[in-house]
């Protein structure tokens, strides 16, 4: 017999063995290679083309950073797997015990349900990290091509995807515990995912509160991480929702507790989580880890903007779907909010697309107000907006120090990548699956 170990260690071993026995996990492992490989190979080719390979002008790639050109698309494969494959692995691990009857035996141990579900989540997260090994292969290959790696931004993207996986696992665990059947759990999980997509769509059309809500969906959160941006409020929301999912799973995993009581406890837990998330929205702290300062103005601009006394109000007369507003929001307002969280941005429009407002008087105008001093501009570029703000405030930036990001153009072909992702990885996984099953 084995040497004595704690009940939790036994449970951990059991969950690991169950994961190894899960076909869904092996399918996830198998698919991840080609999925990541395709994304990586495509992005390396595009990056090389933009950098001058194949006849385009040398120097075009100067503005390129591996974060946007390589890591965002490569890690997108992980996002795809997290949405469409990981939930099934999680549901199998959580619902399997209920289906087989093992839960009736295991729950006779006094271990708290939260500890059980946390153990499953931990093993699933380990399973996800193993499934992400092809991304590590992509990083090694990129390095072998002579590509630049900026560790903070790469780590941010990786952490973002781990957090997203944790959130997916928590949602799947909750649905698998609440639903009687794994198929129902799968439908509920996908419904939750599609629901966040719908929210993003409504936000794009309606703007306003919807836009604020949509900034906490997994898609938006992952997108921020992929751009090297860590938002504390989104982080709080993601961690809270993950804790809520695991909490709900543990509440519904218990046997012998009346449904009414479990429902009441679930409502209380959800209300508490919403309270935490709402409180978290008040935080404005964020960190831009990108080498290119993708989410920030230049340091002299940031210093100048911080030094402006008085409150800044911007009134934008553009519809939510107007491309100019999208540009303004993404390239200017988002950066401005990071420096001046007190900036008050008001949007004015009669329609969502703005197509029939173009001829309306005042449409397209952007009004700037600093303590009663007003100026109007129609430009949506960062340079123009900053110029308007500086002229209103009488503050200007210091000269650039010269350490401007010039990009890392790389004219390299994705050598050996196809062999690694399309042949070696599937062969390795297939061999491991056969060896372990035997």
């Amino acid at each position: 017999m084995r040497s004595p170990k704690s009940a939790w260690m036994w449970l951990l071993e059991k969950e690991w063995r169950e994961l190894l026995a899960s076909r869904a996990w092996w399918v996830l492992l198998l698919v991840m290679g080609p999925l990541v490989g395709f994304a990586f190979i495509s992005s390396v080719r595009s990056y090389a083309e933009a950098s001058g390979l194949g006849g385009t002008a040398t120097g075009v790639g100067e503005a390129f950073s591996p974060l946007v050109g390589i890591w965002a698309p490569t890690f997108s494969a992980c996002e795809l797997a997290a949405v469409f494959l990981l939930p099934f692995v999680a549901i199998r691990v959580v619902a399997g015990d209920r289906q087989s009857g093992a839960l009736k035996l295991e729950l006779q141990h006094a271990m708290p349900a939260l500890a059980r579900i946390a153990t499953k989540a931990l093993i699933l997260l380990v399973g996800w990290v193993i499934a992400s090994v092809p991304v590590v292969a992509a990083i090694i290959l990129w390095r072998s091509y002579g590509g630049s790696i900026y560790a903070p931004e790469l780590a941010t993207v990786a952490v973002g995807h781990v957090i997203n996986a944790g959130l997916t696992i928590a949602i799947a665990a909750a649905t698998a515990s609440i639903a009687e059947h794994p198929a129902t759990a799968a439908i509920l999980t996908l419904t939750a995912t599609v629901g966040t997509w719908i929210l993003n769509f409504i936000a794009a059309v309606q703007g306003g509160t919807w836009e604020r809500l949509a900034s906490y969906t997994p898609t938006t959160m992952v997108s921020d991480f992929q751009h090297g941006l860590i938002r504390l409020d989104a982080l709080i929301a993601a961690v809270t929702l993950t804790a809520l999912g695991l909490g709900l799973a543990s509440l519904w995993l218990r046997l012998g507790v009346p449904v009414r009581r479990r429902a009441a406890e679930s409502i209380a837990a959800t209300a508490f989580a919403l309270l935490v998330i709402t409180a978290g929205t008040a935080t404005t702290q964020s960190w831009d880890t990108s080498e290119s300062r993708l989410n920030s103005f230049s340091k002299p601009d940031e210093k100048a903007l911080r030094s402006i006394a008085g409150s800044l109000t911007i009134e934008v007369h553009l519809a939510p779907e107007d491309p100019r507003r999208v540009d303004l929001d993404r390239r200017v307002i988002a950066k401005l909010r990071r420096v001046r969280p007190d900036v008050n941005v008001r949007y004015q429009s009669a329609t969502s697309i703005g197509l029939f407002e173009q001829t309306s008087a005042g449409y397209g105008e952007i009004w700037y107000d600093i303590d009663g001093k007003k100026a109007m501009s129609r430009a949506v570029t960062a340079e123009s907006v900053l110029e308007t703000i500086y002229s209103l405030s009488g503050v200007g930036p210091e000269a650039e120090s010269g350490d401007v990001f010039r990009g890392h153009p790389l004219m390299a072909r994705p050598a050996k990548a196809a062999m690694v992702f399309y042949v070696l990885w599937p062969a390795l996984i297939a061999s491991a699956a056969v060896a372990i099953r035997n």
Binding site: M1, R2, P4, K5, A7, W10, L11, E13, K14, R17, E18, A21, D97, S100, G101, A102, K104, L105, E106, L107, Q108, H109, A110, L255, G256, V257, P258
Partner: protein, 246 residues
Amino acid sequence: MTTAPASASSEWIRVEGLTKKYGTVSALSDVAFSIQPGEILGLIGPNGAGKTTLFECLAGVLPPTSGVIFIHGQPVTVRSRTRTLFYLPDAIAPWPSQTVRWVLDFTVGFFGGRRDLVGDVIDGLALSPLLTNTLGALSKGQRKRVLLAIGLLTSQPVLLADEPFDGLDLRQTREIAAILQSHARAGRTLFLSIHQITDAARLCDRFVLLSAGKVCGAGTLDGLSALARSKGGAASNLEEVFLALT
């Protein structure tokens, strides 16, 4: 076989007023009985009588609508109940991808089971040839033997086993009955749900007769026979007693 009637002083576990309703349908109605230490108590009843529901309410798998369970005269919660009772459900196929050997190790390690009994249980239930097989690859009878091994290896003083002979042939039933008796003699209390009355009569010290969610009688065969006769029924064996009282 022990035939002594239950007395208040020897009561160890007492169930009072246990009721389980699914909407307006009563699966159990005001069930009351007691369990004495070291005995083999048989829960007898036809299919649909509520035997599994009763076990699941006792084990805390199902929430009863009302009723109280006392251990040593004290009402107990589900959490503290699991220290005394271990419930072995019927018709489950747990951990199908794990080997029998690992499942037995897991039972001892996770549930704090009896490591000293592992060898005897493996021999008694003839599990040696199955140790490297996965549970999912076992036949119904083989799986039942592994489940019994799990139950016997747990350390709770009371084992509730739902249909322990289901899926076993006559020889296996007799062998396993002997093993259960030896565990009872060693101090383990067994509460077995059995729908085969002849098996129950051969093995159990006392009986709880359950029909349509109600206890129709509880006690030794002699006590139940007397009760059956008082109701004008034939009572030469447990089958006749059961038919007379249910």
